[in-house]
Amino acid sequence: MTDLLQLLFAGLSQGAVYALIAIGFVAIFTVSGVINLAQGEFAALAGLVAISAAGGGMLLPAAAVLAVSTVAIVAVVMERLVIFPVRGMTTLVSLILTLGVSTGLKALMLLIYGPDAKGLEPLFPGAFDLAGVSIRYQELLILAVAGVVALAVYWFYEKTLAGKSLRACAEQPVAARLVGISLSRASLLSFLIAGCVGAIGGVLASPIYFTGWESGLTLGLKGFVAATLGGLVSVRGAVLGGLLLGVLENLTAGYISTGLRDAVAFFLLIVVLVARPSGIFGRHAEARV
């Protein structure tokens, strides 16, 4: 029983990281139909920037802010240089383009930070026991920050004019343009959001899960699976998908085999796509011709 609780808790905090990355996928996909394969690299880059800044003596909160702003700038520059100039973006083109950026970012991280994975020192080190379950402060921090960020993103989309205009672009791009919403600005904004949430996820995860130049690959893949579980178009679905994936991964690692942890995401993806392409939390099918 304690084992189960321990695994569930670890799964939730890891799932919260996936959820943040998944929100990034959703933010960009809904506006421009682009699946950003560099989303995982946003998280990895943030982790490495924070580690290097903290290693240079910067205070942890300052290092975190620096990491998030760096990635936000990278995301915005990527949108302007790589996504914006391309007209007639097809799925194929967008995948190859973002894969190019992702590969470039990976290599850049390798050149700057070296090949070894490192962990950021936690803001509040240590752990405490609750009903036999060992809980690290960092895990609580992950859950708290991810919760606040997810709520903020949700509030932004539902309540603010800018958020509503992003949703309008997603649902009716032509009509959105007719009422004066700039698709170009919407696309830029969506990359900014994706960069920020991805970076926050990366910084939060680093003390526990470590960060290396290649971390973005699996982080991105799992974020995508989480977003797909939620139907790829819903922030709420992405959060639930992330938490579910995290829990399932930890249960698999705990009860079956640690080595299979990374296989869970893939099998979950296949199963969901076969059974319910609209996502298990999605409401309407994505049957378009």
Binding site: I35, L92, L97, L99, T103, L221, F224, F266, L269, L273
Partner: protein, 634 residues
């Protein structure tokens, strides 16, 4: 920026001879290469040939199926591992082992492809990415596969007492394999399958309406592309002597993708050219970057891959192939102006005899299409409400009604692209509602489109040849091996040309269909539909955009088709033309069928007059009486 196209496949250019020359030239270059290059360069060349095969498969997948795999290395690894296990553990001969290795890989691809290829492209991309990761994870977890150290001791191949152990020998051993791979790939691209998939990339709905089973063909191409990766994997295993989980490394998948994209997606030789360029770049960067960035270790060449991949997609989406064709076209333009295409309006002969009558067509008067209670709701709006219609063989039925009456929606439900909320559609005994358009086509019916769905990368002839898809049979294997398929190709081309003559499009046969004026593009769509020799033809506003003379020609053509036993349903705004042509007319208003009858009955129906003139039915009686005759309708 010019219109972006990744795809240069499809029947757009009849370049068979050019291809053969190209491949022959490549063959000469490949044979000369090991004679002039230094051993270390030949070593790079060996990897280029191995990886080029995998990239070629990926290029076919992207060019034909319009989908991308980010896990090509996963299939590469399955091929390599299977080969390694069979050769080192079970004493298989290299050739026998590679046949099994390819079969195993193709089965794996089938299992991955089946659930995913129905979905939009990004799912296949991400799932294959995950697949590659899984293959690496499972391999390193499996003791049977040697865990992280992998399988080693795979011997160099030996044939006729000759051991292929130097890079030159191995290179020369691979050259014929790569050339055969190129030839097979080229045959597939040029085949009926390649043509159909090229059409799908231009307009999926139109290709499916002509009977192309998109999903099935995509699965086939996906499996074929995995087979290429697998062959590459077996060659890799023997060359390196070791297979470890790194064979399924994600950067390797990226490398395959870069090779395909750099060479020009969908061009067969492009992948091999791209492979040499990328391998050269890889080798150069691995030497250069540690000099520039002290202490740089690991896969530093990726920086170049990433930048190159992005830059190509932005500046040169057709890859080196695009560069090459642009240069050639510039040179050709300087050499002199090309012969201007003839836009002459060739007149169809004023023949009135029956057309396209054929054996086995249902006898005139037998019910062909039965539509019962067809309903479509979009949210709260009911676009079509309980629509009933029976169409018999050998009659022309017109569907008219004001804008927004639901005519096209009804058409789309009958022919497949739109799934009805309720109701049934039976075509020649087959229930087709909610099925894909190719099911409707297989039942003997096809359609044209109101907003044209021309295959833009194909010539007029190529468009019509896609219409022969169901009237020809050669599959992927036959196409790859070319011999049996060749005669059928000639027959398909001949019948397509015949049809073009019939519609007065003969002079335009070899022009790109999109270069034709709007009205003639409509005729191309009709010719394409007729190529199917359907029993039932649905025409969505066939008269729109045609001149008066063209309309008269088209009406005459439709009468002749009717005389040949074909049933025709047309949606049309030109009410006069419709009333003169149709045997029966159905009128839709706000999704409801308000009238059905002969043109005369409909002309005098008060509800119809009201719908068209916007008056209440009571007043419409007066209008109909006062203003009987053809001029009564707009």
């Amino acid at each position: 920026m010019a219109r972006r196209r990744l795809l240069l496949t499809g029947p757009s250019r009849r370049s068979r001879r050019g291809d053969v020359v190209g491949i022959a030239l490549l063959a000469v270059l490949l044979v000369v290469f090991p004679l002039v290059a230094t051993p270390s360069v030949i070593n790079v060349g060996v990897y280029a040939l191995i990886y080029g095969l995998a990239a070629l498969g990926l290029s076919l997948l992207m060019g034909l199926a319009g989908q991308v795999s980010l896990g090509q290395a996963g299939f590469f690894a399955i091929g390599a591992y299977t080969q390694g296990v069979l050769v080192t553990r079970y004493d298989f001969g290299g050739l026998a082992a590679s046949v099994i290795a390819v079969a195993v890989t193709m089965t794996a691809a089938l299992l991955v492809g089946l659930p995913l290829l129905r979905l939009r492209g990004h799912y296949l991309a991400l799932a294959t990415l995950g697949f590659g990761v899984i293959v690496a994870v499972l391999a390193s977890e499996s003791d049977f596969l040697g865990a992280t150290s992998g399988i080693y001791g795979i011997a160099k191949p030996e044939m006729n007492n000759r051991l292929y152990n130097s890079s030159t020998e191995y290179f020369l051993l691979l050259v014929p394999v790569v050339l055969i791979g190129l030839l097979l790939a080229r045959n597939v691209v040029e085949s009926r399958i390649g043509r159909a998939l090229g059409a799908v990339n231009d307009s999926e709905v139109a290709a499916e309406s002509l009977g192309v089973d998109t999903f099935r063909l995509r699965v086939q191409v996906f499996v074929l592309s995995a087979a290429y990766a697998s062959v590459a994997g077996t060659a890799f295993a023997h060359w390196l002597g070791v297979v470890n989980p790194n064979a399924s490394n994600f950067p390797l998948s990226v490398k395959f993708l870069l090779m395909a994209v750099l060479g020009g997606v969908g061009t067969v030789y492009g992948a091999v050219v791209g492979a040499f360029a990328v391998e050269g770049l890889d080798d150069g960067l691995r030497r250069l970057i540690p000099e520039l960035v002290p202490g740089a270790v690991g896969e530093v060449q990726l920086i170049g891959f990433g930048i190159l991949l992005t830059a190509i997609m932005i500046f040169l989406p057709g890859g080196l192939h695009q560069l090459w064709t642009t240069v050639r076209r510039r040179l050709a333009a300087r050499a002199g102006p090309g012969d201007g295409p003839s836009g002459a309006e060739a007149k169809a002969p004023p023949d009135e005899g029956p057309l396209l009558a054929r054996e086995g067509r249902p006898a005139p008067g037998t019910p062909l299409l039965e539509v019962r209670g067809l309903t479509k709701r979009f949210g709260g709006v009911t676009a079509v409400d309980g629509f009933d219609l029976t169409v018999d063989a050998g009659e022309i039925v017109a569907l008219i009604g004001p804008n927004g009456a639901g005519k096209t929606t009804a058409f789309n439900m009958i022919s497949g692209p739109v799934v009805p909320t309720a109701g049934t559609v039976t075509m020649a005994g087959t229930r087709v509602e909610g099925r894909k358009p190719h099911v409707f086509a297989r039942a003997g019916a096809t359609r044209t489109f109101q907003n044209l769905q021309i295959f833009t990368t194909a010539t007029v002839l190529g468009n019509v040849m896609v219409g022969r898809h169901l009237r020809s049979t050669s599959g992927l294997l036959g196409a790859a091996l070319v011999l049996p398929a060749r005669r059928e190709e000639r027959a398909v081309e001949a019948s397509a040309r015949e049809l073009l003559e019939l519609l007065g499009l003969g002079a335009d046969a070899d022009r790109l269909a999109v270069d034709l004026p709007f009205g003639r593009q409509r005729l191309v769509e009709i010719a394409r539909a007729l190529a199917l020799e359907p029993d039932l033809l649905l025409l969505d506003e066939p008269m729109a955009g045609l001149s008066g003379a063209e309309r008269r020609d088209l009406a005459r053509l439709l009468r002749r088709l009717r005389a040949g036993g074909m049933a025709i349903v047309l949606v049309e705004h030109d009410v006069e033309a419709v009333l003169a042509l149709a045997d029966r007319v159905a009128v839709l208003e706000d999704g409801v069928r308000i009238a059905l009858g002969t043109p005369d009955e409909v002309r005098h129906d008060p509800a119809v007059v009201a719908a068209y003139l916007g008056v209440e039915p009571e007043d419409a009686d007066a209008v109909a009486v006062a203003d009987s005759g053809p001029a009564g309708l707009p």
